[in-house]
Symmetry: C2
Subunit: 199 residues, 2 copies
DNA sequence: ACGCTTCAATCGAACGTTTGTTATAAAAAA
DNA sequence: TTTTTTATAACAAACGTTCGATTGAAGCGT
């Protein structure tokens, strides 16, 4: 095998298996076998099974570093809200495993929750709260709005759509074709729900 | 020990431990020790570790059987929506473990997902879709509304508020004191977001 | 009230696997 | 030569399950 192919392959298979069955649901024997590498490479590169898991976790949540991008350009609160929904949907389309780690860590936190997961989620929620505060300052949104609760509501709408896929695919289409329409609908529901001066 | 105390205790501890660490994260030795019972009682009563897990799962999702109650009485769509939010919040307050199984099964489904979890979630989403369709028929809600997507949005708002607790408690209060206000806010955001004839 | 049987409930030890890790030596690649 | 990878074996620890023994209450004929 070529140089460092082994490390890459272990990360790849580790991502899939840990996402599918969690840290305790996968053995390093099965993992290394599927990766076509030998068992000892896990200790060699990552210092053990947990080291590999933490490396995978770090890689998965790295995409939250670029979240600030949804704020630039126009920076109109309404645009940012739609931008967040689009960003969230595309993020899950590009990497269907992330949500597994996301919710798994929220409900069964491991050692790395506070260093990797919590900062990432806090960062994005903080941005949403900022944007909503901004919208209130511009008198676009209702001034009684509790921006913390509203931010969680927005994040919940976008994430739960994917989270529920396995249980609701018989009832609602989760195909990527409808994503643009979904973005418009969710943006409409949320922004109309918080607009100032309702009739 | 009194008759069947053992069984009850095993269910009780099993619920807590499986919720906290998942099926694979708990050993029957630790479980039985915490329950003050001997290891063999798990096989005796439940046929094994997985049998205990499935019994716990069944018990956890039993509360979805009474979901129809939010439809009776007034049956005004707007009331049912608020009723759903309240029911969801109270459900999580009364049993903080349910959400762990709920999301754990959605992202790492076990053998019993299709027999226990999926039917429960489908049932409730179906009711929400029904109610939204009803509201459109009464011309209360926008007739362009995609009721499937909207139902998931509502469920997402209510559930994600709890799901995110561990990561967002520094930013947003999750105290039960504010529940009634939260219900009003979420009901307002959602219903105003789907109302007919926006200004 | 008595002795006897029955049976569900419980226990702790033992079994065979599988776990994650480590050590070793050799092969392959750079 | 140095780094990377392989294969293999060994290890103690932990795993889920099973087995035989023990307990104690209930049922029953006398």
């Amino acid at each position: 095998m070529a140089k460092n192919d082994c490390r890459t392959k272990l990360m790849e298979i580790g991502t899939r298996l840990f996402a599918e069955r969690g840290l305790h649901g996968v053995s390093i024997r099965e993992l290394s076998q599927e990766a076509g590498a030998s068992i000892s490479m896990i200790s060699y590169y990552f210092g053990g099974k947990e080291g590999l898991y933490s490396a995978v976790l770090q890689e998965q949540f790295a995409c939250f570093d670029q979240i600030e991008e949804i704020r630039k350009q126009g920076a109109e609160p309404l645009d940012v809200i739609e931008g967040y929904i689009r960003w969230t949907l595309q993020r899950h389309r590009n990497n269907p495993y992330l949500l597994r780690f996301y919710t798994s860590e929220l409900t069964n936190p491991t050692l790395w929750f506070h260093t990797i997961v919590q900062p990432a989620i806090e960062k994005i929620i903080r941005i949403l709260i900022d944007v909503l505060d901004d919208g209130i300052r511009r008198q676009q949104f209702r001034k009684e709005l509790h921006t913390g609760n509203a931010a969680l509501a927005l994040a919940g709408m976008a994430n739960y759509f994917f989270l529920s896929t396995l249980a609701t695919e018989n009832l609602v289409s989760h195909s990527a074709e409808n994503d643009e329409e979904l973005i418009r609908q969710y943006a409409a529901i949320f922004t109309q729900g918080i607009l100032a001066s309702p009739p």
